[in-house]
């Protein structure tokens, strides 16, 4: 099979990277740090994308500040929840059907992401909350 040798190395690399990332995002607040990369779409186009604020949200999440995490990026928490549910189904721990396995799942995700991205760039009262 192709990739049988590569896979463990890739997984190990990803594991090391994720541990480093968790330590980094736990120790430092991206809001204050100068050394965290800014989202290119915000930096160069001035548009908040659907991922903007996720670095700050991860920092909040690692410090168990759920409210702040939602404030920086509302979609991060639900996204992680859906992915976790998918993982639990795949590993057989959960016996239900993965949300991501439904036929319309990609379309629904697409609509949510685009709608979120559109709304959070509106500089108006109810939607300003969605900006990071």
């Amino acid at each position: 099979m192709r990739g049988t040798i590569k896979k463990p190395i890739v997984l190990l690399g990803l594991g090391v990277l994720s541990v480093m990332a968790v330590l980094l995002y736990f120790s430092f607040n991206p809001e204050k740090g100068l050394f965290f990369p800014k989202c290119p779409s915000y930096q160069y186009l001035g548009i908040y994308c659907s991922g903007c604020g996720s670095q700050r949200a991860i920092h909040d999440l690692l410090h168990l500040r759920l409210g702040d995490a939602m404030n920086h990026n509302v979609l991060l928490l639900p996204a992680l929840f859906v992915i976790a549910q998918h993982g639990l189904v795949k590993t057989g721990i959960l016996k239900t059907r993965s949300f991501l396995n439904y036929r319309l799942a990609p379309i629904i995700v697409l609509v949510i992401v685009l709608l979120f991205m559109f709304l959070r760039n509106l500089n108006m009262a109810p939607f300003a909350y969605l900006a990071p």
Partner: protein, 95 residues
């Protein structure tokens, strides 16, 4: 899966990678990947297995391009600023 027992199992649509790519990196590659993921589902539901498989390949490719670019930017960024990070780690008590 609903009406054809002879079909091979549905090709992976890589939705997890697509979502990760959309959150952590690039809206453009993430959306490309999500669109191909939905094509995998639609083709498979219509019994077009070969098309579903090629959409699956594209979904994987776009998600990996996005995540790869994110990882690369991230690693380069922290390789450059690594010294600054360890410098401030040493003074971590000060902030």
């Amino acid at each position: 899966m609903e009406n054809n027992q002879n079909m091979p199992p549905k090709p992976n649509n890589y939705m997890v990678l697509a979502i990760l790519s959309t959150i952590f990196c690039c809206i453009a590659t993430g959306i490309a990947s999500i669109i191909y993921a939905s094509k995998v589902n639609e083709h498979y539901a219509r019994g077009e297995y070969a098309e579903a498989q090629s959409a699956s390949k594209n979904a994987k490719m776009w998600a990996l391009i996005g995540l790869g670019a994110a990882a690369l930017i991230w690693i380069v960024y922290f390789a450059i600023f690594g010294l600054a990070i360890f410098g401030s780690l040493a003074n971590a008590g000060n902030y």
